[in-house]
């Protein structure tokens, strides 16, 4: 068993700077949980508190049922992979991977077996006698992962391990880490600012902002049922489009602030929003929920826009436009029929839109 439980964990630095506030999360045994959020949201600080590299101001952290608040990192049975690899430059790959085992007085044979086994999994057999400076970024990261694997810890911690890699290598290593989780079947806690990594790798995702957990859920639930505007905008690429406006009581129509856009609501939404009539709300529409009106059956919920920019991606196009001065993006099938500067009619799926309270930003 290697579950990790955070109970009301708070971290306050000097001068009353609260960086993590009242974090409560349970990470199940063998689960791959991703902490995601923008820079400065407290995700790395939370991970470092689990590792024992930062002191906890208040709250408790339990690993495998044992409170570890006062335990040094070496006694928590965890292994960590750092963003900048943190390989010992004066040691060979073999020595880097064996370092922790030697300190723990493992026998030479046992060390050799574990290092060779890890090297085989990570395809590092030919590099065991080399020093880190002669390796590529991806190889160094694999050595860092190997150093963690040989320890056979209860919990693996990853602190943005792919941030220093180029885009192609990042995609490759993402897959390798996911496969590693399946083969090792270990509890893993992964920190990233990249929502794509979070969505593709995590069993569950913890979305954080300003030191506070916004939502904890599976990737699909976060995508389909975001708890608030921040989660809705953070998950999904390109980001969700937000249109602020008001529901008109006489016509049950939504009218955006600048009255450029007006569309009918369906009965489900009308029933849902009965308390919000004549009050401001925010409508969120994902770029992929837009389509050109002529592509499907005629729709009553359409908006007329001027195309400001088209980004052809090959298998799709990103169409940039503005509503109420806000930049918006639609993700549509590639077509030659539209170009920059055109006025087009975009339709969208009413059932997919999200509505947020203007004051609390929470999902209605």
């Amino acid at each position: 068993m290697a579950e990790v439980i955070l109970k009301n964990v708070t971290k306050v630095y000097e001068a009353n700077q609260k960086v993590v506030e009242n974090i409560c999360v349970e990470i199940n045994d063998r689960e791959f949980v991703v902490l995601v959020g923008p820079s400065g949201c407290g995700k790395s600080t939370t991970l470092r508190m689990i590792a024992g590299l930062e002191e906890i101001t208040s709250g408790q952290i339990l690993i495998d049922g044992v409170v570890v608040n006062d335990k040094p990192p070496k006694d928590r049975d965890i292994a960590m992979v750092f963003q900048n690899y943190a390989l010992y430059p004066h040691l060979t790959v073999y020595e880097n991977m064996a370092f922790g085992l030697k300190l723990r007085k493992f026998g030479k044979k046992e060390i050799e077996n574990r290092v060779n086994e890890a090297a085989k999994i990570l395809e590092l057999e030919n590099y065991l006698n080399k020093k880190p400076k002669s390796l590529s970024g991806g190889q160094r990261q694999r050595v860092a992962v190997g150093r963690a694997i040989v320890r056979k810890p209860k919990v693996f911690l990853f602190d943005e391990p792919l941030s220093n890699l180029d885009a192609k290598l990042r995609v490759q290593m993402r897959t390798e880490i996911s496969k590693l989780h399946k083969s090792l079947n270990a509890t893993m806690i992964y920190v990233t600012h990249d929502q794509t990594e979070a969505m593709t790798m995590g069993d569950r995702i913890v979305v954080m902002k300003d030191g506070v957990i916004q939502q904890v859920d599976t990737p699909l639930n976060l995508y389909n049922y975001p708890a608030n505007k921040f989660v809705a905008g953070f998950i999904g690429s390109p980001s969700m489009n937000f249109i602020e406006g008001v529901i008109l009581s006489d016509s049950n129509k939504f009218k955006c602030n600048s009255s450029e856009i007006t569309f009918n609501l369906n009965q489900t939404l009308i029933d849902q929003l009965v308390k919000h009539v004549n009050r401001k709300i925010i409508i969120g529409i994902r770029p992929e929920d837009f389509y050109l009106e002529h592509e499907k059956q005629p729709a009553s919920n359409v908006i007329n826009i001027y195309i400001e920019l088209i980004e052809p991606m090959g298998n799709e196009m990103f169409v940039h436009f503005s509503i109420d001065g806000n930049n918006c993006v639609a993700r549509i099938s590639p077509t030659d029929k539209i170009k920059e500067g055109d006025k087009v009619t975009l339709a969208f799926n009413l059932e997919k839109i999200k509505i947020f309270d203007t004051e609390t930003n929470k999902l209605i």
Partner: protein, 269 residues
């Protein structure tokens, strides 16, 4: 044309700089009186080691040489040990008053050593260390320049290396011994050269605290030689050569680390 002029200028300047040293080597291989003739002789008629024989056999310079070697080595090793620990602590540990303490140490560097010589002498006298090796070793155990040099270097070592070592199971001293020291070799060697040279060449302090001929270091013994044998420039040149050859060897062997240590931190990597 410009390059030719530059190289000519550099060649002449280098020759002028090295000329006294070359003459010193030459004179040390001359017979008695050969260095004082006029016009001066730059190359001895017959090279001889008689001056060195006199130095080591008659004047017991071997004992002074051993004193210098022993003291320089002990002071270098001990000061490296203490300076490296202090520098690492100032760079990577958090403790109350760290910055104030470090600033205080730095400020004390403006006090000239001559000011502290008397109180230091009295302290060592009360401890009973005058005319012993301890009188040289104790003041050299740690110095602020060394602590500063190592602190600045340790600041460039990523914190994540130390954190990785903590997670791997290393204690504080193991991190210092197995991670920090190997990484700090260039700066340690630089500091070793500075300390070795400084201790080897030190004249005033050994002169003050050492009173027996048998305890004298080479610079002090050489100064005595000058007092007793002013009319024997060949013997004095031999004594000077014996004094500087070890430091030249140390410098030549370790100079690549020295240059690397000096340049460290000057260029962003």
């Amino acid at each position: 044309m410009k390059r030719i002029l530059l190289y000519t200028f550099l060649g002449i300047t280098s020759f002028i700089t090295i000329l006294p040293f070359l003459w010193m080597v030459s004179a040390s291989l001359m017979n008695d009186g050969e260095a004082s003739v006029f016009p001066p002789v730059f190359i001895p008629d017959y090279a001889t080691l008689i001056q060195f024989q006199t130095l080591f056999v008659r004047l017991n310079a071997a004992q002074n040489f051993l004193n210098s070697l022993l003291l320089s080595t002990i002071v270098t090793l001990l000061s490296l040990f203490f300076n490296s620990m202090a520098g690492y602590a100032f760079a990577k540990y958090r403790f109350a008053g760290k910055n104030s303490l470090f600033n205080l140490l730095l400020t004390s560097m403006i006090i000239p050593s001559q000011v502290t010589m008397l109180p230091l002498f009295l302290l060592l006298k009360y401890l009973g260390f005058i005319n012993t090796y301890m009188a040289i070793v104790i003041p050299g155990l740690a110095n602020i320049f060394g602590i500063f040099l190592i602190r600045q270097y340790c600041l460039s070592i990523p914190d994540s290396l130390i954190e990785a070592a903590k997670i791997d199971g290393a204690g504080d001293f193991e991190i210092y011994q197995k991670i920090i020291l190997p990484l700090a070799v260039p700066i340690l060697v630089t500091l070793a050269i500075f300390t070795f040279l400084g201790t080897w060449n030190d004249f005033l302090w050994p002169l003050i605290v050492l009173t027996d001929n048998s305890m004298y270091t080479l610079p002090v013994a050489l100064a005595n030689l000058m007092g007793e044998h002013t009319k024997d420039p060949e013997l004095m040149m031999a004594g000077s050569l014996v004094t500087i050859i070890p430091v030249i060897i140390v410098f030549l062997v370790l100079q690549k680390y020295y240059i690397k240590g000096i340049m460290m931190g000057s260029v962003k990597e």
